[in-house]
């Protein structure tokens, strides 16, 4: 609650700061300070809410559950990490640095709404607040045609998916006569499910699939992620996607849990298709940035397991997956922006030129591939465990493991290029001691997640 107000105020402050301050560096410094302050506010929110009794806000429009606040805190932490790692790169995108940071604050506002909504309208507003700044960020590199193309494509297809989402909400309202997601549970019965309600659930599922880039609604992802300025791709692919997943899980866990027999198979097919498309298509990419776009589809396939499971472990799974995936991906993008050439060949010989960069990249890739002792392993473990505990869909778990094996191929190609191929990678901006320090901190976080995942879990 305090965080929602704070992030809005901070966003406005950033916008006005752009009017008075022309120095990009001071703006970035101010932004970093405000992100740190925001993290403080989320922690304040977290500590002042008791674990067992969620607070109902604004006439039950929002409900601040403990795990929601925990998610907010962790994601704000990831955003702070993002700003610390990439603040310098944000300054290079264009003239309006303060506005980029302001938009990121507004995105976080959408994230907070999505983790706490208790009403379909708030969910809709949250998704729009989350999405619209992204359309702008995607096109922020105005001189670059690809960036403008990405922005326009994202906007067009996003508008399409918004239509689907609204359709779903309307149908659900028709069936349940309420927007309140907790009240909705009692009004729909599994044995005689209204076809309106089922259609509504499927429409909402498809709209969310679009937001989390699950097949067959994933088509926008490679083009948008590839075309957008790399710094903003990093944010979209991590924090934003995690927020969409959290909202997805929240609705399906709270409202549609008891109806899972009606939709679980459809979602299982979406999951299988997502894993297949993401992993298999990533194999043939020549650009690491585009490979990461497909990998984000593949990782979305794993996160969908949490939604499939609808149990307590799923909450732990989504939180640990969100943070493990976000931290590692932000780390990889932080290395990527340092390079001029985004193809695999651009990484050739990096281990000789920048051994530390090559090492941390290796750890991040290990984490994405799910190698033990990294966060990615624990994340995959928890989401798969959640499904295994449900005792069905074992075929999907096995399929996911096979797909994870494929992912090793395209992740390790980068490692092979860095360590075993000769070449002189071109560095676009000098790697300073501060950069190295932040990368090592990020790397340490990845390993900490893999060794002591309990630190990042909370009571659900």
């Amino acid at each position: 609650m305090k965080a929602i107000i704070a992030t809005t105020v901070f966003g406005v402050i950033m916008m006005f700061a752009g009017l008075w301050v022309n120095d990009k560096k001071s703006i970035a410094g101010l932004a970093t300070f405000l992100f740190a302050a925001l993290l403080g506010v989320t922690i304040w929110d977290l500590t002042t809410t008791s674990v067992n009794s969620p607070k109902s806000l604004f006439n039950d429009m929002l409900r601040s559950e403990h795990y929601s606040l925990w998610f907010n805190t962790i994601m704000t932490g990831c955003s702070l990490l993002y700003v610390l790692l990439m603040g310098k790169e944000v300054q290079k995108v264009g003239k309006y640095v303060s506005e980029y940071f302001a938009l990121i604050f507004f995105i976080l506002c959408g994230l907070y709404l999505l983790s706490m909504y208790n009403n379909l309208l708030m969910m809709f507003i949250g998704i729009e607040i989350l999405s619209i700044p992204q359309y702008i960020l995607a096109g922020s590199d105005k001189r670059n045609l690809k960036s403008s193309e990405a922005s326009l494509k994202y906007f067009l297809m996003g508008a399409f998916s918004t239509g689907i989402l609204l359709m779903g909400i309307t149908l659900l309202y028709g069936a349940a006569r309420t927007f309140n997601i907790t009240e909705m549970v009692t009004l729909m019965h599994s044995d005689a499910l209204n076809p309106l309600a089922l259609a509504g659930i499927l429409f909402i599922m498809i709209a969310f699939s679009f937001k989390v880039s699950a097949a067959p609604m994933h088509m926008w992802t490679p083009d948008v992620y590839d075309g957008s300025p790399t710094v903003f791709t990093a944010f979209m692919a991590t924090v934003v996607k995690s927020a969409a997943f959290f909202a997805f899980l929240r609705l399906f866990q709270v409202s549609f849990n008891s109806l899972s027999e009606h939709w679980v198979m459809v979602l299982a097919i979406i999951t299988a298709a997502t894993l297949l498309v993401g992993n298999v298509t990533a194999v043939f990419q020549q650009s690491v940035k585009r490979m990461l776009a497909y990998s984000s589809i593949a990782q979305a396939g794993f996160m969908l397991f949490a939604v499939l499971a609808v149990n307590a472990v799923a909450w732990q799974g989504i939180i640990i997956y969100a943070v493990a995936y976000s931290v590692a991906t932000i780390g990889i993008f932080a290395v990527l922006v340092k390079l001029k050439d985004y193809t695999y060949d651009g990484f050739n010989g990096l281990a000789q030129r920048e051994p530390l960069l090559a090492f941390v990249t290796t750890i991040f890739l290990f984490s994405l591939a799910g190698i033990p002792l990294t966060g990615g392993f624990m994340a995959k473990y928890y989401v798969l465990l959640a499904v295994v505990q449900q005792g069905q869909l074992m075929w999907l778990v096995i399929f996911a493991l096979l797909m994870a094996a494929i992912s090793v191929y395209y992740y390790f190609r980068v490692i092979i290029a860095m360590y075993f191929k000769a070449g002189t990678p071109e560095i676009s901006s000098p790697v300073t001691g501060g950069d190295k320090f932040m990368l090592v901190v990020t790397c340490a976080l990845v390993i900490l997640l893999g060794v002591l995942p309990q630190l990042f879990l909370t009571k659900v």
């Binding site: 494509k153 067009l156 297809m157 399409f160 689907i164 076809p195 089922l198 259609a199 499927l202 498809i206 679009f210 097949a215 067959p216 609604m217 088509m219 926008w220 490679p222 083009d223 027999e261 009606h262 939709w263 198979m265 459809v266 097919i269 979406i270 498309v277 298999v280 298509t281 990533a282 194999v283 043939f284 990419q285 494929i406 191929y409």
Partner: protein, 631 residues
Amino acid sequence: MANLVYLVPLFPLIGFLINGIFWKRMPKTLGGVIGCVAILASFIISLGIFFEVKSASFQGPLVVKLFDFIQSGNLNIHFDFQVDALSSLFLLIITGIGFLIHVYSTSYMGHDEGMVKYFAYLNLFVFSMLLLVLGANYLIMFIGWEGVGLCSYLLIGFWFKNRDYTNAAKKAFVMNRIGDLGFLVGMLLILFNYGTLAYQDVFAKLPAAHTETSSMYNWIALCLFIGAMGKSAQIPLYTWLPDAMAGPTPVSALIHAATMVTAGIYMIARSHALYDLAPMALDLVAVIGLATALLAATIALYQNDIKKVLAYSTVSQLGFMFLALGVGAYTTGVFHVMTHAFFKALLFLGAGSVIHAMGGEQDIKNMGGLRKKLPITYITFLIGVLAIAGFPFTSGFVSKDEILLAVYEHNKVFFYLAAFAAVLTAIYMFRLLMLVFMGGFRGTHDQEHHLHESPAAITIPLIILAIFSLVGGFVQIPHLFGGHDYLNQFLGKAGVPAVIHEGPGLEMKEWTLFGATCVGLLVIFLATKKLFAVSQFDGNYSGFKKVLANKWYVDELYDTIIVKPIGALSGILDKFAEKAGIDGLVNGVGKTVRWGGDRMRLLQTGQVGFYIFIMVLGMVALFTLGFFWIK
């Protein structure tokens, strides 16, 4: 004090980490000091633990819980240490003798550029061994067991630029792995049958001795014994130990005296409750032990490498220990481990001192008459030889006498064969002593010129070990000489059973043994001098002697019947199964995925209209599924 037991392995681990991480930059002296201090600290705590265990107030085995190690379903394995008489005695042997060997190494390895790395390995070795004896369940023992195997590999191949040395290291590792497989299977059998690996829980589930027979006990005991065969160098897995001489000499001392080879004895003594129920496996232990004792003793007769003689003597003495275990005299086996640790460490370190003085020469053909130039080494070595040969009242006499007595009461044929092996022991040890220290020098003039006594860091450990080799047996003086069985009583607290000798005729038997030993040794001493023609020794053998000098051609036999056929088989499998079958399958899967990726990539046309068309198609498909297929 016993609650601080976790410190005992912790210090060597810290020493290993410090030396292991900074070995490139650390000064040699500092590395040596860190290595020694780590073991000394462990030794002091071990002493404290020992006296606490020895005190009357100590009640039964103490299990010190450290943390939960593996929890999965019904399987629940804790990382616990067990403190009792058996483990505390081994702690003393490992850290005490280990410390002396560390001190010795500071001088012996002083000129080696990899000295800090060497100390890191040495500390890791001791750490692994401590883990092995301290673990309160078989899994932790297994971790230590594997760690010991790894460290022996690292140390035997320490001078890895020499191809033969790395081959010896590989041989040791592979032989040990064969044994480890047996241990692993035994462990799984225990887990499968009893659902736990903790000693106390497993043994509590065993029925009282001899009330119930089941082939399962024999199978478990047999599998565990296969593990012991590998680690403690028994037939047929003994050939790695003599080759392990490739490592630096103090490492040999460490492997032969304090760590590694005693692991098998410890494991069987620890599992005695199980072996008591497995008479067949126990008989096998005795037979294998006896056969190994004899075989190794005959080989040792005609070896020309000073360390090889000692190596085969270790194999032979280990055979004696297993013989003792096999006839049910568990405490006696452990007792011989202890006395053997004293004199074998002494002999190896003495041999190291000789090699050091000879400038790296190990062939006794080129030695002789060293007693004048190396007086301290000579005297201590002599004490070691007397002890291992069983000269009355030395430690070796007491323990071997006890083994023979136990065997005599078990089986007369075994006794005569074991006594014969003991005679052989005396012969080859006297031969070694004479060829090295007596007569005239047979080496080059240059070597003679360089002969010198070793520095204090080498001689002081020798002197300390010599004293223990002399008096170490007094904890268990034979009944005949009015002694006590302190050790039996001590180990009895851990529930390790002893063979109690009593009844009429006992004194007679002991007198016979004692008398025979005295007379026998004198005869052997005189005979050896003639038999081996010390004065004109040239190191060449013919006829049967050559067979013995070539170790009964066992290495060649293994090579022909095992290594070569496996090599041929692997060649065939590589050609047909691997390249054609498995590679084809694996590459086929990879190619299919790549092909799929190449096709699927084309779906991404970049046209928004096409994307939305695909989305709509997907939605229609999902709706059809959701409405008509599911329910």
